[in-house]
């Protein structure tokens, strides 16, 4: 296949997305797309640790929440401008991933999943129990507008671009990882950790690096989200729902691939929006049912399914239908 084709498509897509707010997109559409971009970042962050390294984290929201609260607390307490708080949020996300990863990445499979879930829930309780710093359950409000504000509030168009830029960075990071020695190390680890170590891979370091990179991307997304929301609450910023969504998006799109999590994030976020607008009463139920069906039909995700069908010149689904009389 012509190697430049995907790049040309990506460039064209980016140009359209960059021009969109000026020419075609309404405010609400910009807001929706902004959240789509945010979930691209979260799904790609999860993809590094859960997809490439094969460590199914169910606590990545902890980085999101920490990033958001770092930005909020710094803006509230020190009056720092948003852009100053972003590197701080990134550092907190990365640093916490390393600290948490050193003990927890020794666990495998379900034990790892449960431990990460526990850390995220514990962190939420911790934030609730520090009302002096975080406002506790009542939340905290960033001085986004008014005389205390250090800059004019970016608005829907501003956040659309913040999230777009971060999503592009996340895509490039994952693309770079996928073709690098680091990416091969992670894939080897996900498939057989003992064999990976026997091949000279420092498995501990590679896993922590993947987790740290996930923590960094996710915490920056949290920082932008907090500024966008203005008032943030622990229950929202550390919500298990956010973890579940990023996992489902990455897995359904294709964990361990470069474009899979993007496809998952875009399609599921739009599906969810559409269902909310059109099926007011049952939308969560139908959304859940569709996810269950998708996991049953495409357990390896859209992208891996397509690659497999292409490689074998046959479609695994039809084989499955024939074999199991689905």
């Amino acid at each position: 296949m012509r190697a430049w084709l995907p790049w040309a498509a990506a460039a064209l897509g980016l140009v359209l997305l960059a021009l969109g707010p000026t020419y075609v997109l309404y405010d609400a559409e910009q807001r929706t797309l902004g959240s789509v971009f945010m979930f691209v970042v979260l799904a790609q962050g999860w993809n590094l640790i859960g997809g490439f390294a094969g460590y199914p984290s169910f606590g990545n929201v902890v980085f999101f929440g920490l990033g958001g609260y770092t930005t909020a607390v710094l803006m509230v307490k020190t009056g720092a401008s948003f852009f100053v708080t972003v590197p701080a949020a990134a550092a907190v996300g990365l640093g916490f991933a390393v600290l948490m990863g050193i003990p927890i990445l020794r666990l495998r499979g379900h034990y790892f999943a449960i431990a990460t879930l526990g850390v995220a829930e514990g962190m939420r309780e911790g934030v609730i129990n520090l009302p002096g710093l975080t406002g506790g359950n009542k939340g905290t409000t960033i001085p986004a507008v008014g005389e205390k504000a250090t800059a004019s509030y970016p608005g829907n168009t501003g956040f659309y671009f913040y999230f777009l830029i971060l999503a592009v960075i996340a895509m490039l990071v994952v693309w770079g990882v996928a073709r690098s020695r680091f990416g091969y190390a992670l894939r080897a680890i996900s498939q057989d950790e003992d064999a990976a170590a026997a091949a000279g891979i420092n498995t501990t370091r590679a896993k922590i690096a993947a987790f740290a990179l996930a923590g960094l991307l996710t915490s920056v997304a949290g920082a932008i989200y907090a500024y966008q929301q203005v008032t943030i609450y622990p229950d929202r910023l550390f919500s298990v729902d956010i973890t579940v969504l990023m996992v489902v998006m990455a897995v359904l799109g294709g964990a361990g691939t470069v474009i899979g999590p993007m496809i998952g994030a875009v399609s599921l976020q739009y599906l969810s929006e559409w269902l909310r607008d059109n099926l007011t009463d049952y939308h969560t139920f139908v959304f859940g049912a569709i996810i269950v069906a998708a996991v049953l039909i495409l357990p390896m995700g859209v992208v891996n399914f397509a690659l497999d069908a292409w490689k074998r010149r046959r479609i695994a689904l039809f084989q499955a239908v024939r074999a199991y009389r689905l």
Partner: protein, 252 residues
């Protein structure tokens, strides 16, 4: 010159059971040590102790005179100690070629990029006669080819010391000879090899000396012919009845 591999009082207990108990031996450069023993004798644990996949309870492992006891597996691997696994462990989502390239990326002579390592992987594949299937998925390989891949992965680490854990298990008689030839040619190049094997004909053919393990401990060690005539070995390995019959045969 110090031996390529030396173990001193090497012991590993799992719970109350000693999987390997007080093993001391050394291997000179370019020699082949065959390790035999019934299932559960501790052969695989011995390899795991040498490569750092399992930590010893007591004793030490020296590679080229350097104490590597307690080092992590990747550190030991990078000092040119390569191994195969008894249960083959391919990276199943990578192609056969990429599987072998991993060793080139992270082994002692790390390639500067993934692409370079992939380009260099064909040497090891050619040595085990697996080049034709370089683009295949490991899951599609036959038992014999899966064993070959396991060997190629070890060779990609450019080993000085090679630990082979039953690389011939499940092979047909005709498939064993190429494996033996490969071991012989590696030995010729000065690679030191420890072979764990159940195929007696094979192990007798390649080993300079034999170590017989029984319940974790050394039962006999030395020249293969002598060791195989040892009555305790026959009894442990083939059972008491066989030992008695052999004795009667010998006595006329």
């Amino acid at each position: 010159m110090s031996p390529v591999l030396e173990t001193r009082g090497l012991t590993r207990r799992f719970g109350g059971v000693a999987a390997v108990s007080d093993l001391s031996f050394s291997l000179e450069e370019g020699s082949v040590l065959g390790v035999i023993g019934p299932n559960g004798a501790g052969k695989s644990t011995l390899i795991n102790l040498i490569t750092g996949h399992v930590k010893p309870s007591e004793g030490s492992v020296l590679v080229d005179g350097q104490d590597v006891t307690g080092e992590r597996p990747w550190t030991i691997a990078r000092s040119r100690v390569a191994r195969t696994f008894q249960v083959v462990k391919p990276f199943r989502d990578l192609s056969v070629r990429e599987n072998v390239a991993i060793g080139g990326m992270f082994g002692p002579e790390r390639a500067s990029s993934a692409r370079k390592a992939i380009a260099q992987a064909d040497d090891a594949l050619e040595r085990v006669d697996l080049l034709e299937k370089a683009d295949a998925s490991p899951g599609d390989l036959s038992v014999a080819d899966a064993r070959r891949l396991e060997l190629a992965k070890a060779l990609s680490m450019q080993p000085r010391l090679l630990l082979l854990d039953e690389v011939m298990a499940g092979l047909r008689p005709g498939e064993i000879q190429p494996a033996l030839d490969l071991i012989a040619s590696l030995k010729e190049e000065g690679v030191t090899i420890l072979v764990v094997e159940h195929v007696m004909k094979a192990i007798m053919a390649v080993s300079d000396s034999l170590l017989v393990m029984h319940e974790g401990a050394e039962l006999a060690r030395g020249d293969p012919e002598t060791v195989m005539r040892d009555e305790r070995v026959i009894e442990a390995y083939l059972g008491q009845r066989y030992a008695e019959r052999a004795r009667k045969d010998r006595e006329g």
